[in-house]
């Protein structure tokens, strides 16, 4: 891998990172807080590539004292591995894989595993109350639905297939990047939206005192009695 090729690869990677942060694509892979660092890193990558090209051009005009800093003598195939950097670059530029969804929800256990009994403050006034799936789950499982009674709740998530084969509502929680994504699953009763997996919906309904166990990790899956639902387009920030 000569210097020109290295510059090209680094340039592509930097460009791919910058393009992903320019749009909302990066939100499929990491949290929003990483954006400034991604932009800085992308700019540094592009600058490194540009400087490499400049020095390369300069040295081409003076072949006599070409500094032999290329890795000709690499017995262990060193910089060949650098070509691999093309993979994430192409992944970001061409394939642009989607955010984690129903496949992860089906394979990984739900997030409500710890045993806590915390008293939660009452929901803000006004129906329907918009909650995250995680907050609904906490209130339903750890507070026995105390704050959820007699309220209309609105939840937003995607459809995934539950352990019993029925559609359920799910969302992926990220701490840092998609490698640590953990699903939160909510079972559905009543007017269950029978849609294909990974379809995003907004459901409105009431808490019911019913939980199931996620066979993957024995976590609790609370339920919601759905009154109405509507299909929506996926939000920019798909993770909770």
């Amino acid at each position: 891998m000569n210097r020109g090729a290295q510059a090209l690869v680094v340039m592509l990677l930097g460009g791919a990172v910058l393009r992903a942060t320019w749009t909302d694509v990066y939100l499929r892979y990491v949290k929003q807080g990483l954006r400034p660092f991604l932009i800085a890193a992308g700019l540094l990558l592009v600058t490194t590539a540009v400087m490499t090209l400049i020095y390369e051009l300069r040295d081409m005009h003076r072949p006599a004292d070409h500094p032999d800093d290329d890795d000709h003598g690499h017995a262990h195939g060193g910089p060949v591995v650098g070509w691999l950097l093309l993979l994430p670059a192409f992944g970001l530029l061409m394939i642009v894989p989607p955010a984690l969804g129903a496949d992860t929800a089906a394979r990984a256990g739900s997030a409500l595993t710890s045993i806590e009994d915390t008293a939660y403050p009452p929901l803000p006034p006004g129906d329907p109350a918009k909650l995250t799936l995680l907050e609904y789950g906490y209130r339903a499982v750890y507070d026995s639905g105390r704050t959820l009674r007699d309220r209309e709740i609105q939840l937003t998530g995607f459809i995934a297939t539950g352990p019993d084969g029925q559609p359920m509502l799910a969302r992926i929680i990220l701490a840092c990047c998609a490698a640590d994504g953990v699903p939160i699953k909510i079972g559905l009763r009543g007017d269950v939206p029978r849609l294909a997996s990974d379809t995003w919906v907004q459901v409105q309904g009431r808490w019911i005192p019913h939980t199931a166990k996620d066979p993957v990790n024995d976590s609790d899956i609370p339920y919601l009695e759905v009154d109405i639902w509507q299909k929506i387009s996926p939000p920019a920030e798909q993770y909770e």
Binding site: T48, P79, I115, V216
Partner: protein, 305 residues
């Protein structure tokens, strides 16, 4: 020509992408890379600064002359590097190049990703009910880092470390040397990072979680299981506390082992260490660190909980 090729490839890949599992693999792979790129780039830039702008004499003055004393100082100095493990590998390589005794540089390499304030804060947030986890993690990680440094002084051989030949930076003007060092380390460490990310994504998609659930019931096996899982999953040290918190069917000791092993030994680190320090080094260093980290974490966990 290139555009046509890209167009054809795009079509082909589109067909493949229909498989949900492959899609998840790609998402995890790309996201490990996206997460790691800033840390890799900042680590590389810092190591280039060390290589080009920081005079050699500084290290001689900053670190105690006796290597056995330099090890703990370098380990504790890891507190100042806020980041995860991808950045610390090129930095440690650069320190060794600049004449820092390898034992001290290695103690720094192991300690920095685990004991910096960002990682410890994340751990405190992830374990609100067990604040002792933060102290246990910091303590155990520091102890392992120092023991590994001292072990290297006793048993390590200089010829195991083979830093990749790179630019004869000394002969170049400073800015040229700086950018050459950046370019070299990005391509080198970055390439190995890609290998590690691919392995981590494969494990993420392939390991059935129900299997883990069974293991959690055995007190000894569960510690080993989570230690191995930390190696395989290769999660960034800033995020691993949240994953550990979600593995609540496991004992706190097992989860401590997960948190101590993860930032020190994992697939992407082994891959990057192979790239920066050479195969003979990684083949000895990674297993030794793993064994020591499991022992220290299990010991400390048994004492506390």
């Amino acid at each position: 020509m290139v555009l046509i090729l890209i167009g054809v490839l795009h079509r082909q890949l589109g067909g493949l992408m229909a498989d949900p599992r492959l899609q998840t693999w790609l998402t995890v792979f790309v996201s490990v890379m996206v997460q790691a790129v800033p840390f890799l780039v900042f680590g590389v830039v810092l190591s280039a600064v060390i290589a080009v702008f920081v005079p050699r004499s500084i290290w001689a003055r900053a670190l105690p002359r006796h290597p056995a004393l330099a090890v703990p100082v370098a380990g504790v100095a890891g507190v100042v590097l806020p980041g995860c493990e991808c950045g610390s590998v090129p930095i440690a390589g650069s320190l060794i190049r600049r004449g820092v005794t390898p034992a001290a540089a290695l103690a720094f390499l192991l300690a920095a990703p685990a004991i910096n304030p960002i990682v410890l804060t994340a751990t405190a947030v992830a374990f609100p009910k067990n604040p002792e986890m933060v102290a246990a993690r910091a303590g155990a990680s520091l102890v392992v880092a120092m023991l590994m440094g001292w072990l290297w002084l006793r048993l390590g051989r200089a010829e195991w470390i083979r830093l990749p030949s790179r630019a004869h930076l000394d002969g170049l003007p400073r800015m040229a040397a700086f950018w050459a060092a950046c370019r070299h380390d990005i391509v080198h460490a970055g390439g190995f990072l890609v290998l590690g990310a691919m392995a981590a994504a494969t494990i993420n998609v392939a390991v059935p979680q129900t299997f883990l659930h069974e293991l959690a019931k055995h007190p000894v096996l569960s510690v080993l299981a989570l230690a191995v899982l930390a190696v395989l999953l290769s999660i960034c040290s800033e995020a691993d506390a949240f994953v550990a918190a979600s593995l609540s069917q496991f004992s706190l000791t097992a989860r401590l082992a997960f948190l101590v092993v993860g930032p020190m030994v994992d697939l992407k680190l082994i891959s990057m260490q192979t790239g920066i320090f050479g195969r003979r080094f990684a083949a000895r260093f990674a297993p030794a660190t793993f064994g020591l980290a499991v022992l220290v974490a299990a010991g400390l966990g048994t004492v506390i909980w």
